[in-house]
Subunit: 286 residues, 2 copies
């Protein structure tokens, strides 16, 4: 502590992985709609989720915070409390960072992890006929955000490491910007398309969507920050892997569709295209 | 590219080091006073300098940029051009990152490096009677900033790695916030104080200070972003090391003073205390 940089020794025979994300006030969150602790938690969770999506074990994080003068220095401890809460839950060290003055609150986090070279998963490995599956139902974060409920979604670190050990898992990424956006990204990166047959919806998201008269699956497909993982799995291995996953984690892998040669994402039966998910350069309300 | 995180393999028998810094518009720079390319360059240089200060070799960087809508997407390429210019000069890879909307421009950079465990230098290792020395004259960045000149100070990567190999170098850090601030930080971290006998002033800084009727040494001591390294060197080894440094880098190590038991930083002869350097939480003009 106090040095210009933090030092650690990655274990031998492992690759290091690194991820950086920034959350900005009035773009990714609004003060008053979330506590500072929640904001810190989510900033850290987003990066840890990126590491989990590679099949890696997160090791440490650095934090840069832009702090407006209207936020009391003591309140910044609330942000660190949230970061620390997530860090403890996934056993990573906070290795320092930077606090600077800024007109708007922002949190930029970097997380480093490690993975054996044979386990590393990329989003570009999906193959035609692979099952597209997710590690849990979607939409809970969006429902919580829009109903102003408190919600601290866990990044799927153990699930990612578990899936990464299987050779039948050809590609992996996390669903941080909504299934519709992220499935399209995986398909493009893998030079293929996908057809969606069902979207597993979290119970809170289903209730919230129905209360607003919206289609629950479409609501869930456009929800960001769920942190569930999306995997492309060899079709012959899917049922077996899902069963073992259920034994290990108490819930099955959930099929959302299948990859196919034809580019683009369609719904089975030619239903309405899915709504676009989150785009980091699109400012909400602008 | 496109994956949630970037992967690399640190060489065996090395420690990894990591540094994160953020630069914010109207705090660390003002648009119009520096080009976007300069701003990108300096953001990257600040982190590379932190890595150099540990004696480590920088390996890769991630970048998070907060981009106001008033900045054209094309202009963000100027920022990347500056980051890339520094990255090429020290042979590091840009391994991805994040671009988000923001009311003010900010750049948060993380750089990872590696160092052999026996070479790693910390700021806390200075010993009583060690010579405090710097790798070059100071104040050029401040003079450039205040005279609105263009200036791209190089981080001292080769110098840091060279010094780190010597056991006579007991502590090291970079001068990012002014010698007066950073020497005090090294002394506090090392549980000692220091007495300053001379402050080497860059020629451009001397001319600029004189043109404003200011004391050149005091001007240079409070200048930030010089990226010269400050080292605590065993007194018996100093002359020999400085001579070898001159052979290698074409200029000597410059003595600024000596560490002593008594806490605090004083000037030889009891002159006026040095002005404080940069404080990241103090907003200029506020």
């Amino acid at each position: 502590m106090g040095d210009d940089a933090a030092a650690w020794r990655p274990s031998r025979s492992h690759l290091s992985v690194i991820s950086t994300d920034a959350l900005v006030e009035n773009v990714h969150f609004r003060l008053g709609e979330a506590t500072l602790e929640e904001i810190g938690y989510r900033a850290c969770a987003a990066n840890v989720s990126d590491i989990a999506a590679m099949g890696a074990r997160p090791v440490l994080a650095t934090v840069a915070i832009g702090l407006p003068q209207r936020i009391e220095p003591d309140d910044v401890l609330e942000i660190y409390r949230g970061i620390d809460r997530l860090a403890r839950s996934v056993k990573i060290e906070i290795a320092g960072g930077d606090i600077v003055r800024s007109a708007e609150l922002f949190i930029s986090l970097t997380v480093v992890g490690e993975v054996s070279p044979t386990s590393l998963k990329r989003r570009s490995g999906a193959r035609v006929n692979d099952v597209a599956a997710v590690t849990g139902p979607l939409g809970a974060s969006r429902a919580a955000l829009e109903s102003k409920a408190h919600h601290l979604p866990p990044p799927r670190v153990a699930e990612g490491m578990w899936l990464a050990r299987s050779r039948s898992v050809h590609a992996m990424m996390d669903i941080s910007d909504g299934l519709s956006t992220d499935l399209a990204r995986m398909a493009v990166a893998s030079n293929c398309g996908a057809i969606v047959d069902q979207i597993p919806v979290a119970e809170t998201a289903r209730k919230f969507a129905i209360s607003r008269g919206e289609d629950a699956q479409r609501f869930a497909a456009a929800g960001g920050e769920d942190f569930e993982l999306l995997a492309a799995i060899a079709p012959r291995a899917f049922n077996y892997l899902s069963g073992r996953f259920r034994k290990r984690f108490g819930r099955p892998l959930l099929r959302v569709g299948v990859f196919r040669e034809e580019a683009g994402i369609e719904r089975v039966g030619g239903g309405e295209p899915l709504p676009a998910g989150w785009d980091h350069l699109r400012c909400p309300g602008s």
